[in-house]
Symmetry: none
Subunit: 219 residues, 2 copies
Amino acid sequence: MTKLSLTEENYLKAIYFIGGTSQLVNTNAIAERLNTKAATVTDMLRKLKQKDLIEYQPYKGTRLKSEGKIKAIAILRKHRLWETFLVEKLAFGWEEVHEIAEQLEHIQSTELTERLSAFLGFPEFDPHGDPIPSKEGIFPKRDNITLDRVKPDSAVMVQGVKDSSTEFLNYIAKLGIQLGDQIAVKSVEEFDRSLLVEHKNQQYRLSALAAANLYIKEL
Amino acid sequence: MTKLSLTEENYLKAIYFIGGTSQLVNTNAIAERLNTKAATVTDMLRKLKQKDLIEYQPYKGTRLKSEGKIKAIAILRKHRLWETFLVEKLAFGWEEVHEIAEQLEHIQSTELTERLSAFLGFPEFDPHGDPIPSKEGIFPKRDNITLDRVKPDSAVMVQGVKDSSTEFLNYIAKLGIQLGDQIAVKSVEEFDRSLLVEHKNQQYRLSALAAANLYIKEL
DNA sequence: ATAAAAATTTAGGCAAATCTAAAAATGATT
DNA sequence: AATCATTTTTAGATTTGCCTAAATTTTTAT
């Protein structure tokens, strides 16, 4: 129930993204993700432990405790709701929204979060296709098939991206791939498992890596 | 162009609210508004002066310089746009929104601000009836205020009608409303934004639609 | 198994924003 | 014009989040 500082929230979020809700997370991994130094992370881990938000044994790593998980998931919920708002209501491109959502996710008001969710029609997935946890912290189910799992000659619809780095988003933006698009897989190259696909009446080749980062639904 | 800290922004805003764009503002007045101590304010004033955002002579008070004015007005613009969003899109009551808007006003993204404004239909007044400065920092003229933009407990004079259909003119004639009449707004109903007004020693209720079509001047 | 490498923590400091208490400047009053 | 009250600033600390450099622990490799 204690109100966390913006920095504390970002640490919880980082631990959550690296290790999820159960895996041990290294100090250096956190430092790298937050562009800070290991020594700084150690300081903060001691503080978060004292607030009972994380488990932490010096030299052994850290993981979220239940209070920490709740906080981290609540921030994620806000982040994805705001991204949905930015894309669906303000017509931002889905590559542009992350930075702004990073700020908006720290706004403190559960009332606001819930009204925003209602305004957006209680969305379960954000514009990247990532699941939006409910206010109780439950994630909606989804078929997690990626494009690289698909047999040749199948038609699929793009449901989301796994890798939401700017690089990847830019890449697929360049190809013109958007949520809801249909893609037909023509063939798969034995050698490097790259795919020959047909998309918007064009044929081109997608690397295995790119395909592995596109969530799809088979049609 | 320099990015200001949240605290610096709040100081500029406070100076703006107390002294507007030209009046000298006392250290104590700022301390009171920000619930802080005079000594703290002195420190910050020295810092803001160094950044050339304010004029400041020890013991003499402070006032905004042009850069400071621009920043303060930009924050005000964001605050009022967000309030409009919260009330009009998320159906908050207009008493509840201030605290949330205080947080949202610090989100850094001009792109976001401008798209929000567009999404709201380029509003010129917020739900309290306060003017929303343009992105160039220009305040809209108050001439075109309609009765629905007015705060409760304000007295106004009828200056004209927006809708000049026979139906509307007949309606206000039936109520006995004429140009130059004084109307006092007693309260605004949350539910449908209808107004309880006092006019010619009578109290009655006006719909939000009727109020939106009456141009008024605040007294 | 032991030394080298890597990861992590400790120690000591710095900047921002805050505070209290004391000193200084201003202004108001006789 | 001298004093007293008020306002403001200065001085010295504190907290938070961050840093570098040195010390320590863990892991890896000979």
